[in-house]
């Protein structure tokens, strides 16, 4: 109503204004936040000796669909499948309601490499928005596809794509010896190309990426005691942090990569401590008789949010990274835990219990508004994509825990099919440095 009034007022002024300017002005104050229609035509592979095992266009299409920001046109709906600009008839794509069109060609290059060319068109304007030619190894074609997804995403949304990023997660599976085998794996953001970085017969927990994505810290119960390790991905080399009696858990890297916030119970109840990587010293941040755990740094490094049951039920609190008084952030619901900041620091995502079910929600820090994004029974460990567009989390699919992704507005959810048994505690990597 308010908007209508405003519109009417504006119309009034605009109409009178138009009498002078002779041009009618129309105010548009709202649009839709729906997915952009895009057609990604299968790339031509006729110029590649032996053909390709990877369907680049399909990977791009899946990437964009998963983001929730795009609605790729099914191939079966395409009237024709042009692979070069001169064969594009924009009217066709307009009539299919497509805003954008991507076409591409793969051709053989020297040294067994291939060259992938692609072009992105604005269907309504009838012009090319961007075009690239990428040379790559045949083995890296998935990576090329993700890069194309990133380029399209960035061109069309103005935000950096996060398709070339990776995710780390914990799997557990019964081994050949009948024992549970724990692994921390790293895969492409779409779940493909998983690589195990550590395996243990004891639980592995809480993988956390270093800010530049070259290291992952995690908790390992090797030797039946919890310890925090930091492992360099490239080399596989790992370093154990000094561990204390009781809980050593929930590591979280500061944005500048100089500190790790973690949970220790060496002084009684679990509290938040900050470990300085350079000085190798620990600093106690919270002092309460309650359990304080699961710290996460604000993007500017000034605040740390954590879960505490100091109020009787687990809720999210905020404390200055330098210490001081903690302030409660969540008031809605009897259970809010495992919070982490969105990349822009405006939201936090967390596990929010509603009607006895654990779901992924976001809290708008400015308005205090909670938006519940998922509808599972036991959704856990939310982790923002580095561009903030999506949240990765674990959910129960039947009896099995799997990974799923939800767009940060909750509109698109997708399960990630990964090899192996139970999959938990996903952690989305930062952008590649």
């Amino acid at each position: 109503m308010k908007r209508t009034m405003k519109t009417v007022l504006l119309l009034g002024t605009l109409l009178s204004f138009s009498a002078m300017s002779e041009v009618l002005r129309i105010e548009i104050t709202q649009g839709v936040s729906s997915a952009q229609p895009i057609a990604i035509v299968p790339f031509s592979t006729t110029q590649v000796a032996g053909g390709l095992a990877v369907d680049i266009a399909q990977i791009v299409s899946d990437d964009l669909a998963r983001s929730g920001r795009f609605k790729p046109l099914p191939r079966t709906d395409m009237l024709n499948k042009p692979t070069s600009a001169e064969h594009v008839n924009f009217r066709n794509w307009q009539s299919l309601g497509q805003d954008n069109l991507a076409i591409g060609r793969v051709s053989s290059a020297a040294n067994g490499m291939v060259t992938v060319q692609f072009q992105l068109f604005d269907v309504y304007k009838g012009e090319q928005l961007t075009g690239f030619s990428i040379s790559a190894n045949r083995s890296d074609l998935r990576g090329v596809a993700h890069r194309i997804s990133d380029l399209i995403y960035e061109k069309l949304t103005g935000q950096k794509g996060a398709f070339s990023t990776r995710v780390a997660y914990v799997t557990s599976k019964l081994g050949i010896n009948g024992q549970l085998e724990y692994k921390i794996q790293v895969a492409d953001a779409d779940g493909f190309g998983a690589k195990t970085i550590v395996t243990s017969s004891e639980p592995l927990m809480s993988p956390a990426w270093s800010p530049n994505g070259d290291k992952i810290s995690y908790v390992s119960y090797e030797g039946r005691r919890s310890s925090i390790y930091t492992q360099t991905l490239r080399t596989g080399q790992r370093e154990k942090l000094r561990s204390f009696k009781g809980i050593n858990g929930a590591p979280s890297w500061s944005p500048d990569g100089t500190q790790l916030a973690l949970t220790l119970s060496k002084d009684g109840s679990a509290d938040i401590y900050v470990y300085n990587v350079i000085t190798r010293s620990f600093r106690r941040l919270t002092r309460s008789y309650a359990i304080d755990t699961e710290p996460d740094w604000s993007p500017d490094g000034r605040q740390i949010i954590f879960t505490s049951d100091r109020g009787g039920k687990p809720q999210i609190y905020k404390i200055s990274a330098n210490g001081g008084q903690a302030a409660r952030l969540t008031f809605e619901g009897s259970y809010n835990a495992r919070a982490s900041y969105s990349p822009d620091g405006k939201y936090i995502t967390m596990v929010h219990r509603v009607n006895g079910q654990y779901r992924i929600a976001t809290l708008d820090l400015k308005t205090g508004f909670i938006n519940i994004l998922t509808d599972g029974k036991l959704d856990e460990s939310p982790s923002y994509a580095p561009n903030g567009s999506m949240i990765l989390y674990s959910t129960n699919d039947g009896l099995k825990s799997i990974l799923a992704a939800v767009s940060s507005d909750g509109k698109v959810r997708q399960k990630l099919r990964l090899q192996g048994g139970e999959v938990r505690e996903p952690a989305w990597s930062p952008f590649k440095q």
Binding site: R3, K6, T7, V8, L10, L11, L15, S18, E22, V23, L24, R25, I26, E27, I28, T29, Q30, G31, V32, S33, S34, A35, Q36, R69, D99, D122, Y124, K125, L129, K155, L156, T157, G158, Q159, S389
Partner: protein
């Protein structure tokens, strides 16, 4: 004759009276005249015949005496006659006088009568005159009244006519004013209607563009961008051009696309109004900020 009808008794008396007078004058006078003539000759004839001398002397003396007596007698008779005559004369004179008087009286009467008659006549005339006058007056009055009435009527008619004219004029003026008012209202109505129609189509266009505007993700509040769109008569977009950039390329592209994608834009059928929609400027201002 009118008179007789009006005064029968008076007229009858008058006639009888007049007749009597006439009879009197004619026969009365003759009776008197005959008596006079008979007496005179008788006396003279008888006494002249007797004469004697001694006798005549005596006789003459006697006669003289007789004569003297006779003379005396004569004298006396003469005197008597004279007296009589005088008396008669007197009587005649009296009669005459009486007659004259009578005549005079009669004349007077006559005169009076005449006067009376005249007076009567006069009176009658007067009366008639008066009557006539009255009649005339009456007539005049009637006429005057009639005239007056006519005048009044005329005046009334005139007034009425004037009033009518005035009323008619006023009516005409009122009608004119009304017509002008109506015309004005009609124009205003048309204008308002035009405006309403324009606003309706602006609303339709706004809605269609809004439906077709897929807002880019992220923080776009505060951005604003103006796109100028040239439109074909059927509502198709000839071209859309960002004439004021938001500074955000993705935002600019999204709004430019929205205007293209919204084609064909709903336009008013009335070519008069549709001409206002040949060029549109869309101001994209998310959240109205």
């Amino acid at each position: 004759m009118d008179l007789f009808k009006k005064h029968p008794i008076a007229v009858t008396l008058s006639v009888i009276f007049h007749l009597a007078l006439v009879i009197f004058f004619v026969f009365g006078a003759e009776l008197f005249n005959e008596k006079k003539i008979e007496s005179k000759p008788t006396v003279n004839v008888v006494k002249a015949t007797v004469i004697d001398e001694s006798k005549v002397k005596a006789e003459a003396k006697k006669l003289k005496e007789l004569e003297k007596k006779k003379k005396l007698q004569e004298k006396k008779r003469l005197e008597d006659i004279k007296k009589k005559r005088l008396a008669e004369e007197k009587k005649i004179a009296d009669l005459k006088k009486q007659h004259a008087e009578q005549k005079k009286k009669l004349a007077q009467q006559k005169a009076e009568e005449a006067a009376k008659q005249a007076k009567l006549k006069q009176q009658q005339a007067l009366k008639r005159k008066k009557e006539a006058e009255a009649e005339a007056k009456k007539k005049k009055l009637a006429q005057a009244k009639k005239e007056k009435e006519r005048l009044a009527k005329e005046k009334a008619a005139k007034i009425k006519a004037a009033a009518d004219a005035k009323a008619a004029k006023e009516q005409a003026e009122r009608e004119q004013a009304l017509r002008e008012q109506l015309e004005k209202e009609e124009q205003e109505n048309q204008k308002r209607l035009d405006q309403e129609v324009s606003e309706y189509y602006i609303k339709l266009i706004t809605q269609k563009v809004e439906r077709n505007w897929i807002q880019p993700p992220g923080e776009i509040a505060g951005l604003n961008c103006v796109v100028r769109v040239r439109i074909m008569p059927g509502g198709d977009v000839i071209d859309a051009q960002v004439i004021q950039s938001s500074g955000n390329a993705v935002f600019d592209r999204s709004v430019e696309r929205a205007t293209r994608k919204a084609a064909p834009l709903p336009l008013p059928d009335d070519p008069r109004l549709a001409s206002d929609f040949r060029i549109l400027e869309f101001v994209f201002r998310p959240g109205g900020q």
